[in-house]
């Protein structure tokens, strides 16, 4: 019986992603653009925040992807450590730059929104600070991948780092909350709670979120395919060196 794991067999993975990737990419592009165009052109301004409310159509989805990308990397790393599925760990490697860019977008859009709202680009608000820390974790994770030559050793060590890093990321989140109790989180300024948000803002935000999720998926699949090929390439080149 075909198990779930067979989907992660590299050959099978390459076959099904070859067909699925274009479809996912098209859906991603359509939803991403639809959400942002809807949000940008066809939503009213918020009565207090004015036009800056439009920034949330990128800020909130990118922030959610930024966190969930790390979560995905954690799960993929665990699967690698336990079941030794190469595709899994390469997917984690492929997701890291995407997560990092999403973190950067969340930080940048948050800072730009903060300037007119809080009067400053940067505030050591727990959320912003946590994202800065998350960004540092992404940088460290990617730097470790780059530094290690042997692909299996790199996979093992980065997975261990991802595991330990996750624990410390959660600890940091609590510590940061404790350190600065979030003076700037008035409920009316948060779009995270659905009940506070009127439908006119909520629906385009949902579409944009779906677009971001699919975009993330498409990018991760594309990059995973590249990583699988790169690994095969590495294996061949190593053998050529032995022979030559």
């Amino acid at each position: 019986m075909a198990s779930l794991w067979e989907w992660a067999n590299p050959r099978k993975f390459m076959t099904w992603t070859d067909k699925a990737l274009p479809v996912i990419s098209i859906f991603a592009a359509v939803l991403f653009l639809a959400g942002l165009i809807w949000g940008f052109f066809f939503t009213p301004d918020d009565y207090r925040q004015g036009a800056t409310v439009k920034i949330f159509y990128i800020h909130v989805p990118s922030a959610m992807i930024a966190i969930n990308a790390w979560l995905m990397m954690l799960i993929a790393s665990l699967i690698w450590l336990i079941r030794r599925h190469h595709v899994s760990v390469l997917a984690a490697k492929a997701a890291a730059p995407v997560g990092m860019v999403m973190t950067l977008i969340a930080l940048a859009s948050g800072a730009i929104w903060g300037k007119p709202m809080w009067g400053t680009y940067w505030e050591w608000d727990p959320r912003l600070t946590s994202f800065l820390i998350l960004f540092l974790f992404y940088v460290g994770y990617l730097a470790l991948w780059e530094a290690i030559e042997d692909p299996d050793t790199a996979a093992d060590l980065t997975s261990v780092l991802c595991l330990v890093g996750s624990v410390f990321a959660v600890l940091s989140r609590y510590a940061v909350n404790f350190w600065n109790q979030g003076l700037h989180q008035g409920a009316s300024l948060s779009l995270d709670k659905a009940e506070n948000v009127a439908d006119v803002f909520w629906y385009p935000a949902l579409v944009a979120l779906a677009g971001f999720v699919l975009l993330f998926l498409a990018l991760v699949l594309l990059r995973t395919r590249t990583e699988i090929r790169a690994r095969r390439l590495h294996a061949i080149e190593m053998r050529e060196r032995v022979q030559g």
Binding site: L36, F40, F41, F42, D45, G50, A51, T52, K54, I55, I58, H59, S62, P97, V98, V101, L104, I105, A108, S109, I112, W113, K115, P116, L215, L219, L222, R223, R225, T226, R229, A230, R232, L233, I236, E237, E240
Partner: protein, 52 residues
Amino acid sequence: MMPDLGKYAGDVFAAYGITFVLLGGLIALSLIRAARIKKRLQAAEERRKTNG
């Protein structure tokens, strides 16, 4: 067509601009690397077939 963004126009454009630049860069880099690795791998597989 263009909505009136009022005094926050600059901020909103900056946010969208940065997003598109960053995402565009990421997508472009991913595609370039995908194409390059694919080409190199194909060349390597060819060498393998002919030599080995």
